[in-house]
Symmetry: C2
Subunit: 201 residues, 2 copies
DNA sequence: ACCTGAACACCGTTCAAGT
DNA sequence: ACCTGAACACCGTTCAAGT
């Protein structure tokens, strides 16, 4: 028996990954602690050695999602260094694409399943870090005269809110067909950003 | 025995109302078919005589929520007839207030628990009607030169998206404290609308 | 037509016990 | 420290049966 003690050295991460996989394959309704445990091959009680409760596992999965989101946003901005407006547009598009390609995890990140500010410090940290990264992009746009001058954090909430609202409504099927038949999501998003811009470029 | 046949003549609406009450008192996690049945005083199986499944009850509750939302939006607009900009601002504020005062039902209306376009014609109807009401307000703003000229439906999605995104992020606790300490939700929303306006009024 | 009782397969969570 | 087995209270859903 050469193998590891008990099951494997890193049950915690195995559980998180199994959760992400289930979210991908079965959507948000399919996620349960028992199913996660079964997929990893441990007893129903085993996850409780690593996560206080269901919420706590969801917090870990959401944290994972935010890390991925941060990475793609940062990459999009880095790819257009020196061109603030393009940074904003492409980061926005990266956000939309993340939401469309990872619908279940995106929803769980924001769908309030994570109610209380019940600590989850890793989640708070990466979520703040992501916000700050967007503030940087917005500030660069203001300095370049692309976005109106206003408190950068306020402008960021405004831009992010717009983006988040449009994609959320789209994912819920709430956007009228009279709109979706005539405009793509990308066009809708571009229109929104264009409205916040000082001048058309 | 003077009473009604079986339980009461309108178990269907009693179930919907009980669901709304539970949402208010216990939030979204507390809602279950069994609890709804218990509160009304019927067996666990009784709801199935009126609703195909859990989703179907949720659809009915969401429909109820949309009716209420429509009423308050319409009232806000009616109260400022002849002043398109004020109509827009007050309707927007009514939306925000509805979300903040009826958090659980607002979340269930939009939180994608209602996945498929699995019919629910009453839901689709009131949801469309609400959208069209907002389009009217937006169109009036464009005619009055308050909002930029653009396809009204596109502009409506943009305005609605902004609003919906900001309040959703706020309800999830995703809006940074560096923003919330300095601005009220109303100020954030006003800022968003101001940005879409042609000129400051 | 409208409802009950009992059953089935699934949950989250706890706790004593094993290594 | 890390995991199992068994238990408890709760789900959604179905179905035969009652009025």
């Amino acid at each position: 028996m050469p193998a590891k003690k008990y099951h494997h050295g890193d049950l915690e991460n195995a559980l998180i990954q199994a959760g992400v996989d289930i979210l991908f394959q079965e959507g948000i309704e399919g996620l349960s602690l028992r199913k996660v445990a079964k997929r990893v091959g441990v007893s129903y009680a085993a996850p409780y050695a690593h996560f206080k409760d269901r919420q706590s596992l969801i917090a870990a999965i959401s944290t994972e999602g935010f890390k991925q989101l941060y990475t793609t946003l940062d990459a999009a901005a880095a790819a257009h260094a020196g061109d603030p407006k393009q940074q904003l547009v492409e980061a926005a598009w990266a956000y939309i694409q993340f939401a469309m390609q990872n619908t279940a995890i995106f929803k769980i990140m924001f769908s309030g399943v994570l109610e209380k500010e019940k600590d989850y410090p890793a989640f708070v940290e990466i979520s703040h870090k992501t916000f700050e990264r967007v503030v940087e992009i917005v500030r660069a746009c203001q300095d370049a005269g692309v976005l109106r001058s206003a408190p950068p954090e306020l402008m960021t909430v405004s831009v992010w809110g717009q983006l988040h609202g449009v994609i959320s409504l789209a994912l819920e099927g709430q956007i009228s067909h009279t709109v979706l038949d005539r405009f793509t999501i990308r066009e809708i998003v571009s229109f929104g950003i264009e409205q916040m811009s000082l001048s058309k470029t």
